[in-house]
Symmetry: C3
Subunit: 207 residues, 3 copies
Amino acid sequence: MSLISFLDYASVFVFALTGALVASRQQLDIVGFAFVACLTAVGGGTVRDVLLDRNPIFWIAQPTYIGVACGAALLVFLTAHLFESRLKTLIWLDSFALAVAVPAGTGVALALDQPILVVVLMGTITGCMGGLLRDVVLDDVPLVLKQGELYVTAAFAGATAAAFARPYFADPLPALVLCASVTWALRAGSLAFGWRLPAYKSRPPRV
Amino acid sequence: MSLISFLDYASVFVFALTGALVASRQQLDIVGFAFVACLTAVGGGTVRDVLLDRNPIFWIAQPTYIGVACGAALLVFLTAHLFESRLKTLIWLDSFALAVAVPAGTGVALALDQPILVVVLMGTITGCMGGLLRDVVLDDVPLVLKQGELYVTAAFAGATAAAFARPYFADPLPALVLCASVTWALRAGSLAFGWRLPAYKSRPPRV
Amino acid sequence: MSLISFLDYASVFVFALTGALVASRQQLDIVGFAFVACLTAVGGGTVRDVLLDRNPIFWIAQPTYIGVACGAALLVFLTAHLFESRLKTLIWLDSFALAVAVPAGTGVALALDQPILVVVLMGTITGCMGGLLRDVVLDDVPLVLKQGELYVTAAFAGATAAAFARPYFADPLPALVLCASVTWALRAGSLAFGWRLPAYKSRPPRV
């Protein structure tokens, strides 16, 4: 299994867990769990493949991705009641999913020799789009654009790090590991220590 | 006219009626009716065609689909006030739309000799995506993921039935009729008799 | 630079301004500004390119579009506090963005010799989809389907005017100027003078 496939599988699995957790907060049935898990899990990669015109889409080429997402949905359906706080679990799982999805998107664009800005955008989009679809469709806590947290920023920084590091190594592995680390460190630092960028504040108009 | 075209036209017409009914609940003007009707009517099939890389998209190849959707919008604009309960009309019309859209999606994927899991997913996506787009864009009653009702489940069961029945017949017709029947029976049973799958219930964490 | 490129750049810039203004109303950070600005700015054109199967997508072929959108986001981040009413600024900017995006979409479809209905739809979709994505993702004031205002109608009328005028001129320019004028005049007239189409009103059922 190639490195990109491994990253795709890992990100599908972890994002599916987060989708299923959101489904559990909405008290859906098992098919609802599977539906939301699949949407979240393959959403980002599907947008990436459609934009880059990769055919067939990754989960149509290898439908086992869908099996993995459904397995994750079943796992959450059976065990979600064991977690003391599903919201906290959701937020932290989502940070790991982001940290594998960003290198998955970045790696695909690097392998296609896209210009650096496209590489960075594909990493960011692949990372953020699954969670964004989940939040828009389910109307639950929006994690991606939550005010005062690093999310898109973490994805963007990770993808940028990978794009710049790539030329210094023969193999893509170090750049993608760097990408995952930067992404997760920034997202986790934001969650744990409140790291943030200065936000826009409304001010009274100048006199 | 091929069977798939007929199913596409029928599903476009009925989904357009549901989109226009939602527009009437939001008191939009006639162009708003047409816009929401088109979005709902061709949304599911468009996502199917983009994912399967069918070119051109079905309603670009045959723009009469758009004419059908606009006709449905006009019909609802002129007659919606005749219905005693537009919500009830909407929900039941939507069940018929689902029952024709699922075989339309399933039939396309079967004709392209996709693996069985992709066939099932395309049927489910084609059926559910139009209604999902309508509900997300208009922020009206979300039918697709409403708790305690069979919707995705009905689509999934219908598509699965068709995928398994297909090899036993020379012609695709019986499998697609079976698909429509299973989908509609489950959705209607859920609406009329409260059929449902066990839903996830939050429970206190084990001690 | 071709006329279509110019229209694409102009519409990207002005739609990016509107996206960033919405981000400022939600008090996001600079990366949030850039993300929403890019989504709004390239959303409509991306949907157009995916539906028409144009490869590569316009902003993948020329990533400078993204640079333009990010520049617009930075500009708003630094200056938004100078505006007395950001909502009013947003609404009027959005009307200009619409008036350049509709001819951008129409021009592409005309250049591809699409049938007239597809030309009109591509103009309408390119114009409306960016603002629709912005409003759905950010849950802010929805401009596109706001009751009692011309928006989709303005886009549709502008695209229709261009499609019918095109055969009378050797060059696409007059048709696209007409398209922009009709679109903006209807949208601005709706905002300034309350022009509207009759909306559907719920009435009691006939006895």
